[in-house]
């Protein structure tokens, strides 16, 4: 093992670096080109470095178009969905891992069974439901369907299963109630799992597309991906610079969150095998 690790061939680094460039170049080009004036973005052949650096695309997005609203909508929805999943999934995840209660097995099987249910199967009845609850074209209508997902339950359950039962027994002997044990003994130990759940839920929600596209019927309720997609196929389809700047606005917060907290994401994949 050590032998192969010591003699890492040079060419392997070269190949990996080429791969790295292929992965990073589209992002780099997006960022750089978003600062070009429209005429230069369309230039044939394309330029790499901007000949004229301008922030006019961003200016248009944030003053003429309503990107501050879309950004705010995206942030509110993602944060609410994240908070809901952290609270609800950790409650159920703990109960499934450590408590005995009637119906537990059925509950676990049903929740796990929906792990593979795609959003496309539920969005039509969900739209009927939200319409009758008068939640269509509202932020709660975007948040509620994602407030409690099976993935978080699975993740927290797996993590709590690894905690020793003696902790709970000892707290019971000391006279602590079941809910106190959950809140005061178990939750403080779940930091890494909760962080993983929070990061993954936030990213998934921020990038979520189909349901917001369906439920947001007026522009002031669009999230960033919905606004960007509809601009890209609509009347702004040829405003290349504008769309690239819009992409930067969608991608940048996620890249920052990811680069700061990436170890929790890799942990999450290791813990559950699922993104």
């Amino acid at each position: 093992m050590s032998e192969t690790q010591v003699r890492t061939p040079r060419w392997l680094y070269a190949v990996l670096t080429i791969g790295l460039l292929l992965v990073v170049l589209p992002f780099a080009w997006m960022l750089v080109s978003s600062f070009k004036p429209e005429a230069e973005v369309r230039a044939v052949p394309p330029t790499w470095w901007p000949q004229t650096v301008t922030a006019e695309n961003y200016d248009t997005l944030f003053t003429r178009l309503d990107f501050p609203t879309y950004f705010l909508n995206s942030a509110i929805v993602a944060l609410a969905v994240t908070a809901g999943n952290v609270v609800f999934c950790s409650m159920l995840g703990y109960a499934l891992a450590k408590l005995e209660f009637p119906g537990k097995r059925v509950l676990f099987v049903v929740v796990l069974g929906t792990l593979m249910v795609p959003g496309v199967v539920t969005f039509v009845p969900l739209f009927v439901l939200t319409t009758n609850l008068n939640l269509t074209n509202t932020l709660p209508g975007m948040i509620l369907p994602f407030l409690a997902g099976p993935f978080g339950v699975f993740l927290i359950r797996q993590y709590v299963l690894g905690l020793p039962d003696e902790l709970i027994q000892a707290a019971r002997v000391d006279g602590a109630g079941e809910l106190t044990i959950f809140a005061r003994v178990i939750m403080p130990l779940c930091g890494p799992a909760l962080a993983t759940l929070a990061v993954l839920t936030f990213l998934t929600s921020w990038n979520n597309f189909l349901w917001p596209l369906v439920v947001a019927t007026s522009e002031d309720k669009y999230t960033l991906p919905v606004a960007l997609a509809l601009y890209a196929v609509g009347q702004n389809a040829t405003q290349y610079g504008l769309l690239l700047a819009g992409s930067v606005v969608v991608v940048l917060p996620v890249l920052v969150v990811f680069l700061l907290l990436q170890r929790y994401i890799v942990q999450g994949i290791a813990m559950t095998g699922i993104k």
Binding site: T114, A148, V153, N207, A229, A232, V250, G273
Partner: protein, 305 residues
């Protein structure tokens, strides 16, 4: 309501049992309420709707609709557009899964034999996975552009005159697959990299002593050991490609001539036209495909282990 299990137990009655049952349901109830209303309920409602003629005009009276039996499904099978999108979706699956797995495996094997910078490369290769498909689709639309696109500019350095990749019925779908591979391989790379750690080093070393080359060691030791991981990777990737939608929505609008339209795209279209029952039936056929794929995985995993 919250009684202990009725069947007699050999254990003595534990006073903590009842409080555990109460606490268990208190902790479960918020999730269960949201889950039943917004996930489990709609999964069943979707099936129910697929047997009715519900349309957007019935939105406020969803129970006052006609039961039409299997006629939505019968119509789907006859619908030339649905047939087309089914073939397209299978193409996404059959092109996307092997390509994504091959790229992920190549990168994972490369990273596994690298001593330094492994963490750095892993993060970098994972980057596209966390970014919005809509945003990267906007970028790739310009990469694939005919005149002035990055790809055709790069090809022109080698004297190749590239086509408008998204403008023709033959190149559009494969182009979307290539972008999807670029966006998705990171997940599998991380999973495969973890799987490679489980390959017994003694076997690899013994094979090397016996004169087996790198390829034979990979083929006869690494791959068989990783069989469960590969199977799992194939299924989760397959489930993803079966739901292909956003890339086509942004980059080609399903065109040219429906050549990139997928089953999910079709379902969304039918929903937009107000044909809710028809849309639900199409989505359930897709769901069925996903269930079958998952069951096949379990079956194959049980076979040899």
């Amino acid at each position: 309501m919250l009684r202990a299990a009725p069947r007699p137990t050999v254990r003595t009655v534990d006073p903590g049992r009842r409080s555990q049952a109460v606490a268990g349901w208190i902790l479960a109830s918020p999730f269960v309420v949201v889950f039943v209303a917004f996930t489990a309920g709609p999964v069943l409602a979707s099936l129910g709707m697929s047997f009715t003629d519900i349309r957007s005009t019935d939105l406020r009276t969803p129970f006052a609709v006609e039961f039409v039996g299997l006629s939505n499904y019968a119509d789907l099978v006859q619908d030339p557009v649905f047939r087309k999108v089914t073939v397209n979706t299978l193409l996404y699956l059959l092109l996307g899964v092997p390509l994504t797995m091959a790229v992920a495996m190549l990168v994972a094997v490369g990273l596994n034999s690298v001593a330094r910078l492994r963490g750095f490369f892993r993060v970098a290769f994972y980057l596209p996975v966390v970014t919005s498909i809509v945003a990267v689709s906007v970028v790739w639309k310009y990469i694939y552009r005919d005149e002035g696109g990055l790809l055709n500019t790069a090809l022109s350095w080698f004297g190749i005159d590239g086509p408008g990749w998204l403008d023709s019925t033959t190149t559009a779908l494969p182009s979307l697959v290539v972008m999807a591979v670029w966006r998705n391989f990171g997940t599998l790379m991380v999973i495969f990299l973890a799987g490679l750690q489980t390959v017994p080093q003694e076997h690899l070393e013994a094979a090397e002593v016996d004169g087996a080359g790198a390829w034979r060691r990979f083929r006869h030791i690494t791959l068989p050991t990783m069989r469960p991981v590969l199977l799992f990777g194939a299924v989760i990737t397959g489930i993803g490609y079966l739901q292909f939608f956003e890339e086509a929505f942004v980059m080609t609008k399903g065109g040219p001539l429906d050549s990139t339209r997928s089953v999910t795209f079709f379902t969304y279209d039918q929903f937009s036209y107000g044909n809710y029952g028809y849309a639900a039936a199409a989505s359930y056929l897709l769901f069925l495909a996903i269930v079958v794929l998952t069951l096949v995985q379990f079956r194959l995993l049980r076979e040899r282990d």
